[in-house]
């Protein structure tokens, strides 16, 4: 359980690089609203939706899992939202051994829902 922090950071760096090369369509969008953030929060914390809290520490979420990286400081780990979108949409495409489900590719979440989750995660300073 110990000594994994370094690995995680390393992986995230690779992820970020990979995400830069991705073809995720990201037109300029309006800034997320409070409603988007609230919707994203619900998705992140609901078992039948995103259930992000099952694996990640997220501010405001009770009894988080510890499989994925702590998302409290996601702004530092993944500076660009479009990279976060790529990770959530289909992480196994870029990192085959990841346990992270391909939320977009497998239609667990819609693109709009993924953007709401991102709005929520990046609402933490």
């Amino acid at each position: 359980m110990t000594g994994k922090g370094g690995c995680v950071k390393h992986e995230l760096r690779i992820l970020a690089l990979a995400a830069l090369c991705s073809l995720v369509p990201l037109a300029a969008r309006a800034a997320p609203t409070a409603a988007d953030i609230a919707a994203g929060r619900k998705i992140a914390f609901t078992k039948t939706l995103g259930n992000c809290i099952a694996c990640h520490v997220i501010p405001g979420g009770a009894q988080p899992g510890n499989i994925g990286p702590n998302l409290t400081h996601i702004r530092v780990l993944v500076p660009h939202r479009k990279d976060a979108y790529a990770i959530i949409f289909d992480e196994p495409a870029r990192k085959p051994q990841t346990p992270m489900p391909p939320f977009g590719r497998n239609h667990i979440l819609t693109p709009a829902q993924i953007r709401q989750v991102i709005a929520f995660l990046y609402s933490h300073k």
Partner: protein, 160 residues
């Protein structure tokens, strides 16, 4: 007195951990039963109460004082809300009744016990807790009522 309780409990624990089930467990046919439970004794109204104050009023006719002489053993996080092991014990003298309440359950009173003289104020049971809640243990000693409480978080399932 406490020493003897813990000694006997340890003996039970070690026997249960590895020993064969059959040797220590006796069974008898229902017909051989010497005791009968009396349904008329059941404090129905107290079990229908929705608050601690109401339940204790209906059960004991009085209100409790906080006491540091009640040991309430609960897990900080219950691994399954359907089966939460709870122990309660007290060093207070002349204990005649004990009760457990869970404040967030639909009905507050979980269980209550009337002790005969010579029965120790030390018992363990398993409760269903609907969600994270304060569990209250109440002890009647020398005719007065005492309470203590502890929070129990109920595990939130990850996948199944």
């Amino acid at each position: 007195m406490n020493g003897s309780i813990s000694a006997s409990r340890r003996a039970v624990l070690s026997a249960g951990a590895a020993g064969a089930l059959s040797a220590l467990i006796a069974r008898a046919a229902e017909a051989a039963a010497p005791a009968a439970a009396d349904a008329k004794l059941y404090p129905t109204a107290a079990f229908g109460a929705k608050t601690e104050v109401a339940a204790l009023k209906l059960l004991f006719g009085k209100a409790p004082k906080a006491s540091s002489k009640i040991d309430l053993g609960v897990p900080e996080i219950a691994e399954n809300g359907a089966v939460v092991p709870v122990t309660m014990a007290s060093g207070l003298p002349n204990v005649t009744a004990m009760a457990l309440l869970s404040l967030e359950n639909p009905y507050t009173l979980a269980c209550a016990y009337r002790l005969a003289p010579g029965t120790l104020a030390h018992m363990s049971s398993r409760l269903k807790l609907a969600k994270t809640t304060k569990v209250v243990a109440v002890v009647e000693s020398n005719g007065a009522l005492y309470r203590t409480s502890r929070m129990v978080k109920v595990t939130l399932g990850g996948c199944g």
